[in-house]
């Protein structure tokens, strides 16, 4: 596994700080290891023990993990299963006919007639999985993927459904999957955030920060949003502050804080805050470095499609894909890569209500080659052995067109996700929708099952990973969830 040179410095910095802690804080050693969260009484005992001075220190899972890192490719706007992965030849036969017994009104209004898949499907890979011509590059990788065709959601509205996918609850205010993982496992690289959310170049998804928010978990565990285009806020001071002023302020602050800590020995939160400024200083170097894609060779840029100056959106997404690989490569625990922005009549994401074919012709190429290259690149670097890749979307789309339109309405009753990489059975499909793709009928699964499976692959029991909030022992999976054993290697 190749690492950027600066990561080697991690150990040194870490030793320095340990030395510092030992030198300046009498008796701190023992206390620092007590969980600050425990001190605040937030944990009910089943959660991990967290060192307040190293909240992101790598922690052991409940049992041996198949995967160390997770990369989620999140297709905002509800990407149609019928135009991508869920081949329904019967829809071609019944094209233009009404759906017998179908809903007269769906999310946006009256239903029209059944409409054939808007792209041709053909068998791909060794396993012969039928994938549409919308995604030829990803289609070549079906032998790496385990498809789940029978997912269901609790709501047919984008925001709540994204909440549900990312947090297990339709309401606002719950911790995201990445926050749960970071809380449970910390991360390998202490110079980078444990959890990075990479928004699409077209904008943030509908539920925005909820997808990477900490909810009621402490703020340490929230995702840090940045992309190849938009850097982390406040990473550097305004230009009006000179380098020497900056260094002097930092040095003076350290002295003031050390002196203060000397008067309050044993206050681990004070030591934690000193440590947080050190991590901030390291991030000030590490984040610009990891976001600097000029070190990527031309053939890699080409492979991802980041060299295509005719399609700036594709380039934008491709650059985000390269950033995602670099983050995974450098031990970031959870990378959430968004494809598609907020509701915009399908212009900026997969929400194809009115002109699905026309809009997917734009969205497909933006995602296809870069995402496929990302998967290939992870594999060729050996990273896929430790990394779980999940492609998902908040719900699916109806087999009918909407009345008077050439697009499909929201369908929370049956849609597709796929997993690939560490611990996942390759080249299989699990569960099914009915012959028209209206509803999941075989092995019906919920988002909770998907999330339970992701946690399981990371070595976590979704029932045991809890956090006490407002009198309730909260879980990512609420009171539901079963690991989808059939797709595990």
């Amino acid at each position: 596994m190749s690492r950027l040179p600066y990561t080697a410095a991690t150990g040194r910095a870490w030793l320095d700080r340990r030395e510092f802690l030992a030198r300046t804080s009498t008796g701190l050693g023992a206390i620092a290891l007590t969980s600050m969260l425990g001190q605040e009484g937030l944990l009910a005992g089943s959660g991990p023990t967290i060192d307040p001075t190293r909240p992101h220190a790598s922690r052991s899972p409940h049992y041996t993990a198949k995967a160390k890192n997770v990369l989620v490719i999140f297709c905002a706007g509800a990407c149609s299963q019928l135009e991508t992965w869920d081949y329904k030849p019967a829809l071609i036969k019944h094209d233009g006919q009404p759906l017998k017994g179908g809903p007269p009104i769906t999310f946006q209004g009256p239903s029209g007639n059944l409409a054939r898949p808007q792209y041709e499907f053909r068998p791909r890979g060794q396993c012969g999985k039928m994938v549409s011509d919308l995604l030829p590059h990803l289609g070549e990788l079906v032998d790496e993927m385990a498809f789940v065709h029978s997912l269901t959601s609790k709501t047919n509205t984008h925001g709540p459904a994204e909440n549900f996918l990312s947090t297990g609850f339709v309401l606002d205010g719950f911790p995201s999957l990445g926050a749960w993982l970071t809380y449970a496992l910390g991360t390998e690289n202490q110079d980078l955030p444990a959890f990075v959310a990479i928004p699409d170049p077209r904008g943030v998804p509908q539920a925005s920060i909820n997808n990477w928010g900490p909810g009621f978990l402490p703020a340490e565990f929230q995702g840090t949003p940045f992309s190849a285009k938009d850097p982390v806020r406040n990473l550097v001071p305004p230009a009006s502050v000179s380098t020497s002023q900056n260094t002097a302020a930092r040095a003076l602050l350290r002295e003031l804080n050390q002196e203060h800590l000397r008067h309050h020995p044993g206050e681990s939160a004070l030591a934690a805050r000193i440590a947080s400024y050190e991590l901030a200083a390291r991030m000030q170097l590490s984040i610009p470095e990891i976001s600097d894609l000029t070190t990527e060779p031309a053939h890699i840029l080409k492979m991802y499609g980041a060299d295509n100056s005719k399609n700036p959106l594709k380039v934008g997404f491709a650059r985000n894909c390269i950033l995602a690989r670099r983050l995974i490569e450098n031990g970031v625990r959870f990378v959430q890569l968004f494809n598609g922005a907020y509701a915009s009549g399908g212009k900026l994401n997969w929400d194809g209500h009115n002109a699905l074919r026309e809009q997917y012709d734009v969205h497909g190429p933006i995602m296809d080659q870069p995402a496929a290259a990302l998967l290939r690149d992870l594999k060729q670097r050996g990273l896929l052995q430790d990394t779980l890749v999940v492609w998902c979307t908040e719900f699916g789309r109806m087999p009918m067109f909407q009345k008077g339109a050439k697009g499909r309405d929201h369908n929370p009753d049956g849609f597709t996700a796929w997993l690939a990489g560490a611990g996942v059975k390759a080249g299989v499909s699990h569960g099914a929708t009915d012959e028209l793709g209206r509803k999941a009928v075989d092995q019906v699964l919920s988002i909770h099952d998907l999330n339970a499976t992701i946690l399981h692959l990371l070595g976590l029991d979704h029932k045991a990973l809890t956090f006490r909030h407002n009198g309730v022992e909260r879980r990512l999976t609420d009171v539901h969830g079963h690991v989808i054993k059939e797709i595990l290697a």
């Binding site: 009498t26 007590t34 600050m36 425990g38 001190q39 605040e40 937030l42 007269p104 769906t106 946006q108 009256p110 709501t155 509205t157 984008h158 925001g159 709540p160 205010g173 719950f174 904008g203 509908q206 539920a207 925005s208 920060i209 909820n210 009621f216 978990l217 703020a219 340490e220 982390v232 406040n234 990473l235 550097v236 001071p237 305004p238 502050v241 020497s244 002023q245 002097a248 930092r250 003076l252 002295e255 003031l256 203060h260 309050h264 044993g266 206050e267 939160a269 004070l270 805050r273 000193i274 947080s276 400024y277 901030a280 991030m283 907020y342 509701a343 407002n470 009198g471 309730v472 022992e473």
Partner: protein, 993 residues
């Protein structure tokens, strides 16, 4: 005060035993400590302060003791941070340090409690609990602009020390005691707006169920410390709350909706009622003067209408009217003297050559018409002063014999103006009468170059088949989504038809009409009622849009008709018997909420026999849709010269009153509970609104007592009954829960660690007797929160040092036993407010709409942050416009709740992002400079004095000798603001000790 009519209910609920009904299997649950009545306890031991007696007993058991009293500096900082969320002011610190009086600390506590900063600080704790925000949340997260009166209510209630019983009552049923803003509590959570909910009924039922759930959760978690919400789908796993209890609780709220309503304030309300009456009288008196519909032809030809104009010479471009409402500007609504701007905001211009034809208008109609011309005005003096308008009767420009000049325009001036100066801006001229002329089908009006000037312009012209001499053409107001009146001469009719020719939003949608009223001549009798409607086609599937809604006498979008064709369609009513009628009144949505789907081009016809249509009104003689229009000004403008002065004065009065009324309406709306007759409540299997079980009536959880109301209890009575039961001294939970919360905010953790869960799953109290004693004292003290603060803050437990011996730290590492005062990081608000207080920039303006942290919300631009704050943005952070989910820049990272779920206690994480924000953000860097400037102003250039002052302001102490030397060195080499930046980032500054 609780009104007398509610006393009956209070008595009713107090008479109910709160607990201890034998319920078999639930017995164990019922023995749970929190459900038992308060124990009467006496403080143990001889400590002068009862709280210390309880605390010391436990400390002694652990062979520990209190730490020594905190030093005075720590104490005044602690009290100021705790009660005000601000560091103390240096001269107050100095006064406190020298006050040797034994009552000095008590006096300080009283002074801090009496200051309004107290309410601002403690209201934030309450707002965390109720997840208050100024946006609606969820995916759209649009603004909730009138939420703030509730925030201000909480601040006021705390500052006034409103007894907690009343605080509860007002938040659940403030409408009963003229405290409407208090009911913002019921609807403080995020909610899906109608547009975000699916059109299918199941989605609507689920959304309603979710919004009701938020009310139950808010009420039970906040006041009772019980997580009743868990019983929505199944009986509670731990607490004796059944699913039935959940729905019985829900029934208390079955008539509560989310929404805005006028804020009850007797004085304004009286003024508005009086205005409404007077407005109605004036309107009725003046309605008859509004111009009747005119069925003679009216033709408007814009200079950019490709069908009815011809360019003879290449144009140079356009002049766009400036934004604004002044004369000739884009939104000029007209006045008593001139016509509103109907020019579509711009004119066309060419180089001017004397005698050269540049442009023609081609009306393509025949008959006798009065013409009005208009042009682009500009005060630069470039435009010709004598543009010629030449009528070419046969329309063949080669034949000159039939041409004759009908008007000239001085394009330096507005129409009708001939002296003075004109603004040097591209303006619309207004209309100038060009006389009456006979037109043939091919006639054209030529615009011909004048003798002067280098430019010539063309703008809209108006033709009316109307021979009456008129100073102003009396165009009727543009079609209005809310209400349109069509007056016409009395005519006998059996059929009335409205045909839509175009709809707003570029014909994207089918036309919608909420009600079509037809009035018998000279009366208020709507003869459309009971008639038979038919139409060109109806949109199917949506129960709110049905043909029969056209004449059902009900207004609003939810009772309207929508056609099945985009942009057009007709609808007609066959009256029950033929009648002589003189008015049709119609609208798209009389409630004024919907502006789309308006048929802004339409005609209205009547017939006595089928298909013998006679046109009585149309949009032709209305000003174009979207053009500015002031109908009172129009009334004044069109009043005949001989109209009596009293009519003019009525029209003027109407205008004034309408303005005042609009001001009053917008000034006092609050986002709060909206109340209506309650829906029926059903037990829902697995919480699924599609799986209804038996009907349920309002009742409290059976394990807690017996308060059940009749199924038909009125809406307000339901909430009052619930409020009185919660606010009763016999309710075992209410006083314990609030006392514990107050304790928690003072010490960082509660006696019960789980502040919103006193159920079986919650933590047991660390000091149960102390909790009961405090609750009893609280009730005895008249439920006064300030008394409770005094009680706690005057204890030695509170006033002890935060430093402790290594031995004490070993035994009481987390300060759970309170062997020292627990040190902790300040909250986001206290850090920001503190920085501003220290820099001297804090604006203490209270109340009203909040300031913004973001330039815009959501959409393509995301949440661009404000980095340079003016005075408004330097107010305390509780006055920030709180955006749900999206955390405030810089300070949101300090565990600011996102207002999604309730936050009974904030976590106090310490993160690198916080460090980056506080160290590098423009805000903190700027404030460091302001802070430095302040220090310099106060003590001058002496660096030692500067260090001392900076320490006093930020840390309320003098620097040590070593610190002073070191800091002077930093000032000398890197400037004073470098020191200030370090101080604002220091642990000593951001920790409460």
């Amino acid at each position: 005060m609780i009104a007398a009519r509610h006393m009956r209910l209070i008595l009713l609920s107090i008479a109910i035993p709160a607990v201890a009904l034998p319920l078999g299997a639930e017995e164990i649950a019922l023995e749970h400590w929190a459900f038992q009545p308060l124990k009467v306890v006496a403080p143990p031991g001889a400590d002068p302060h009862p709280i210390d007696a309880f605390i010391n007993r436990k400390l002694r058991a652990a062979t520990l003791a209190h730490s020594p009293p905190a030093d005075r500096i720590s104490l005044i900082r602690r009290l100021s941070h705790d009660l005000h969320g601000l560091p103390p002011i240096p001269h107050e610190t100095a006064a406190f340090l020298t006050d040797q009086n034994p009552g000095a600390v008590s006096k300080l506590i009283d002074r801090l409690l009496a200051n309004s900063r107290y309410g601002e600080r403690w209201a934030q704790h309450w707002l965390d609990l109720v997840r208050y925000a100024d946006t609606h949340g969820f995916e759209v997260n649009t603004e909730r602009p009138n939420a703030w009166p509730y925030r201000d209510y909480v601040i006021r209630a705390l500052n006034e020390d409103l007894p907690y019983q009343q605080f509860i009552l007002q938040q659940l049923a403030g409408d009963a005691v003229a405290e409407d803003a208090a009911t913002g509590f019921l609807v403080a959570s995020a909610v899906l707006l109608p547009g975000q909910i699916g059109k299918d009924d199941a989605s609507k039922r689920l959304a309603r169920q979710d919004s009701l759930d938020e009310m139950i959760v808010a009420t039970s978690d906040t006041f009772l410390g019980l997580s009743i919400g868990c019983a929505r789908c199944h009986d509670h796993k731990f607490d004796p709350i059944s699913q039935r209890d959940y729905y019985a609780m829900q029934a208390f709220f079955a008539g509560v909706d989310y929404g805005e309503r006028p804020l009850h304030d007797p004085e304004t309300a009286a003024r508005m009622t009086a205005n409404t009456k007077q407005l109605a009288v004036l309107r009725e008196r003046l309605d008859g003067l509004q111009p009747p519909a005119d069925t003679k032809r009216t033709i408007l030809i814009d200079d950019e209408d490709p069908a009815l104009t011809t360019h003879l010479k290449k144009k140079n471009g356009h002049g766009t009217n400036p934004a604004g409402t002044q004369r000739g500007y884009q939104d000029d609504p007209g006045s008593a003297a001139h016509h509103p701007n109907i020019s579509a905001s711009r004119y066309t211009w060419w180089d001017n050559t004397a005698g050269e034809d540049v442009f023609t208008y081609n009306p393509a109609t025949s008959g006798r018409y009065r013409l009005w011309i208009s042009w682009g005005v500009h005060g630069s003096g470039v435009h010709t002063r004598d543009a010629r308008y030449v009528l070419d009767r046969d329309g063949d420009l080669q034949t000159k014999g039939d041409q004759h000049e009908i008007a000239r325009a001085d394009q330096f001036f507005f129409a009708g103006v001939a002296e003075g100066l004109t603004e040097k801006k591209p303006l619309w001229s207004g209309l100038q009468d060009a006389g009456i002329h006979e037109l043939g089908k091919t006639s054209r009006l030529i615009l011909r170059g004048g003798e002067t000037g280098t430019g010539i312009t063309a703008d809209v012209i108006l033709l009316r088949e109307d021979l009456d001499p008129q100073e102003h053409p009396s165009l009727r107001p543009p079609a209005n989504p809310t209400r349109n009146v069509e007056r016409f001469p009395p005519v006998k009719a059996r059929f009335v038809r409205l045909t839509a020719h175009a709809t707003t939003n570029n014909n994207q949608y089918e036309p919608c009409i909420d009600e079509l009223e037809v009035f018998s001549a000279g009366t208020q009798q709507n003869v459309a009622l009971g008639g038979t409607p038919t139409s060109s086609g109806n949109r199917h599937g949506d129960p709110q849009h049905q043909l029969q809604h056209l004449n059902d006498g009900l207004y609003g979008n939810s009772k309207s008709w929508i056609a099945d064709t985009i942009g057009r369609g007709w609808v007609q009513i066959e009256l029950t018997t033929p009648a002589v009628i003189d008015r049709v009144v119609w609208g798209r949505d009389r409630d004024g909420k919907f502006l789309d789907r308006l048929a802004h081009r339409y005609e209205i016809e009547v017939a006595l026999e089928p298909d013998r249509w006679q046109r009585v009104a149309s949009s032709d003689d209305r000003a174009p849709y979207g053009s500015p229009f002031d109908s009172t000004a129009a009334l004044l403008r069109n009043l005949p010269a001989e109209a009596s002065p009293s009519i003019r004065s009525d029209a003027n009065k109407l205008r004034q009153l309408a303005n005042e009324q609009a001001g009053l309406q917008s000034a006092q709306t609050v986002y709060a509970g909206k109340f209506r007759p309650p829906d029926k409540t059903y037990l829902l299997h697995r919480g699924d609104p599609e799986q209804k079980g038996e009907k349920v009536r309002p009742a409290i959880p059976s394990a807690l007592g017996r308060l059940a109301l009749a199924p038909d209890a009125s809406e307000q009575d339901r909430r009052l009954a619930l409020a009185h039961w919660i606010a009763s001294k016999d309710n075992p939970l209410t006083a314990r829960v609030i006392v514990n919360r107050i304790w928690q905010y003072h010490f960082g953790r509660g006696l019960v660690d789980t502040a919103s869960d006193f159920g079986l799953n919650g933590t047991r109290p660390s000091h149960p007797e102390l909790l009961d004693w405090l609750a009893a004292e609280f009730i005895k003290g008249g439920w006064s929160i300030k008394n409770l603060h005094r009680l706690i803050l005057n204890s030695a437990t509170y006033q002890q040092s935060s430093s402790a011996s290594p031995e004490a730290i070993e035994k009481d590492a987390e300060a759970n036993l309170l062997s020292r005062f627990p040190m902790r990081r300040l909250e986001a608000e206290a850090i920001r407010d503190g920085i501003l207080a220290v820099s001297g920039n804090l604006n203490l303006k209270m109340g009203g709409p909040g300031f913004n942290f973001f330039k815009s919300r959501g959409g393509l631009s995301g949440f661009p942050i404000v980095e340079n704050f003016k005075a408004e943005g330097l107010r305390r952070m509780i006055y920030a416009h709180k955006v749900r989910m999206e955390r405030a820049p810089v300070f949101g990272a300090f565990d600011c709740p996102d207002a999604g779920q309730a936050t009974p206690r904030r976590s106090r994480a310490i993160t690198a992002l916080q460090a980056l924000n506080l160290f590098n953000s423009k805000f903190v860097v700027q404030q460091s400079r302001v802070f430095a400037k302040r220090v310099q102003t106060e003590v001058g250039k002496d660096q030692e004095a500067q260090v001392t002052r900076a320490f006093q302001l930020a840390l309320n102490r003098n620097p040590t000798h070593h610190e002073s030397t070191r800091c002077q060195q930093v000032i000398a080499e890197h400037g004073l603001s470098t020191l200030c930046r370090a101080l604002l980032n220091s642990n000593e500054f951001v920790f409460m000790r």
